[in-house]
């Protein structure tokens, strides 16, 4: 479709990435409403809605704090900050990708009845995810105040880290959702594989405890870099170097481009499968 005034749908024609992008921009209001709906249903109806979403990471934090700082006698001061600063970023990635997959299935009936850009549901999952990430950061900052961990000016750089994490997560979500329309069991496989990915990411342990011969595996994991972008400013009080930012941005953009291409290639064949 070239514009709203003339729309041609031709058999066998792929979805052009630029057209989809233009379509997304024309539906900015819908994006706003989708995110609004997500957050309203999650938070507005009950105070505990927010409480429950934080309960899980807090419980995990407690467990890992006991296990790692107690049993393993690991010498990490303020382990709770160390863990949570990485976990909020990990949780953003894991939860957003899962929500994006569920969202496309959930909104399938909608897509059969109204004409909207199909990537909008994935995009709204990522935007909602970033809002949730910002909210959990607030909780983390409160915890840091309570346990008397230092709050440093490097925190100001976090929005940049969040945007880069958002770009990467959007790319991965696009590819995953498109594939899951065709093969529903990929969702189960992905959910089963997520914990493995979690332990491959230095969130609960420092990368230094990984044996030398396995370290490349952890370092190859893109989430290792993304988590560092969030943990460095919070826990270490350091601003990651420009080079760190640039390389993270580069591979995130590659993920976005790849995800976008996969999505646009598969989207015209969604009909009859949603």
């Amino acid at each position: 479709m070239t514009s709203l005034s003339l729309r041609r749908t031709v058999a066998g024609e792929p979805l052009r990435g630029l057209d989809e992008l233009r379509d997304l921009r024309a539906h900015a209001n819908l994006l706003y409403e989708l995110v609004h709906r997500d957050l309203t249903i999650r938070y507005k109806r009950s105070f505990f809605g927010f409480f429950w979403t934080m309960l899980h990471p807090l419980l995990l934090m407690l467990i890992f704090t006991v296990v790692f700082s107690g049993l393993f006698r690991m010498d990490t001061p303020h382990y709770e900050t160390y863990f949570l600063s990485a976990y909020v970023a990990w949780n953003f990635f894991a939860q957003t990708t899962i929500n994006a997959i569920a969202g496309l299935a959930w909104n399938g009936p909608l897509m059969k009845r109204v004409r909207v850009p199909r990537s909008i549901f994935t995009l709204s999952a990522v935007v909602s995810g970033i809002v949730n990430l910002a909210l959990s950061l607030v909780v983390l900052l409160v915890i840091m105040l309570v346990v008397d961990a230092p709050l440093r000016p490097s925190l100001a750089v976090l929005p940049v880290s969040f945007v880069i994490a958002g770009i990467f997560t959007f790319g991965v979500s696009l590819a995953l959702t498109a594939v899951c329309v065709f093969f529903a069991d990929v969702r189960e496989m992905y959910q089963a594989g997520l914990p493995a990915l979690f332990y491959l990411t230095p969130a609960i342990y420092p990368i230094s405890i990984v044996p030398e011969r396995f370290r490349w595996l952890v370092e190859l994991n893109p989430l290792t870099r993304l988590i560092a972008l969030v943990r460095e400013p919070i826990y270490y009080g350091r601003i990651p170097s420009a080079q760190t930012f640039a390389s993270a941005l580069a591979f995130s953009l590659i993920a976005l481009l790849a995800g976008w291409m996969i999505f646009c290639r598969l989207a015209p064949r969604f009909d009859g499968r949603l």
């Binding site: 749908t9 031709v10 058999a11 539906h27 706003y32 709906r37």
Partner: protein, 245 residues
């Protein structure tokens, strides 16, 4: 000028869709042909702007698929579909309603689904609420509404559109007699305003009243296309049924 043009449009679905990697492997091993069926087959149709066209046919004749192709929701397997101007589908009332949100919030959300801007929705909101007659309940969550109330809200939102072309799929079958009469009146006002209407209905009486021209679909193909009274008469004769259901 044509508001909608379908050129040799076919829509084909697999009868059994492969839904998982597991099935794909099993299917590849058994080498069985996957059967297809055609929801539309070689349909060529032009709707002039300002025209009101009815679509009739038995269940499964492809009526809804035709509207979906015209709206650009479904990509045809063969052929080309063209829509000029703002084409808005009103396919199923209540699409996208969220039971936890209030009636007012649902108006905003539904408007966005139909491609309306925030400002436009805000300017129309009072008129929508007034038409629905649900003023006292508008801030209560939708789950507290009765089915009839939901249908009234949905119709009020759906028809508060500024689109040049409106595709309507059997949404007149809802609500009580009084509300239906108002719906009919609204569609008639669309026709008077010179908007393009494509109306799918099982109620042939309604089609004759509201549409100048009628297209008869059967098994995905156009059987007849002409003045509503003539096409409907032929259709009724073939069905061997009286005019009223």
């Amino acid at each position: 000028m044509n508001a909608i043009e379908l050129q040799g449009v076919s829509v084909r679905y697999r009868r059994e869709t492969i839904r998982s990697l597991k099935e794909l492997v099993v299917r590849a091993a058994s080498r069985r042909e996957v059967p297809y069926f055609y929801s539309l087959r070689g349909v060529t149709l032009a709707v002039r702007s300002g025209e009101s066209v009815g679509i009739i046919g038995a269940n499964g004749a492809g009526k809804s698929t035709l509207l979906r192709v015209a709206a650009g929701i479904v990509t045809p397997t063969e052929g080309v579909a063209i829509g000029r101007g703002n084409v808005v589908p009103l396919l199923e009332l209540g699409t996208g309603f969220e039971s936890e949100l209030s009636g007012r919030e649902n108006i905003q959300f539904n408007g966005a689904l139909l491609g309306r801007s925030r400002a436009w929705m805000r300017s129309q909101r009072d008129a929508i609420i007034a038409f629905s007659g649900l003023e006292p309940f508008i801030d209560a969550p939708l789950r507290t509404y009765s089915t009839g109330m939901v249908a009234r809200l949905a119709f009020s939102i759906a028809t508060a559109v500024d689109a040049g072309t409106i595709l309507i799929d059997e949404i007149l079958a809802v609500g009580d007699a009084a509300f239906r009469a108002r719906c009919e009146e609204r569609i008639r006002s669309f026709v008077r305003d010179g908007r393009t209407i494509v109306l799918v209905s099982h109620e042939t009486e309604e089609i004759v009243k509201l549409c100048q021209r009628t297209v008869w679909l059967s098994h995905g193909e156009i059987i007849d296309d002409g003045p509503s009274a003539e096409v409907v008469a032929k259709y009724e004769r073939q069905r061997g049924a009286p005019a009223a259901r």
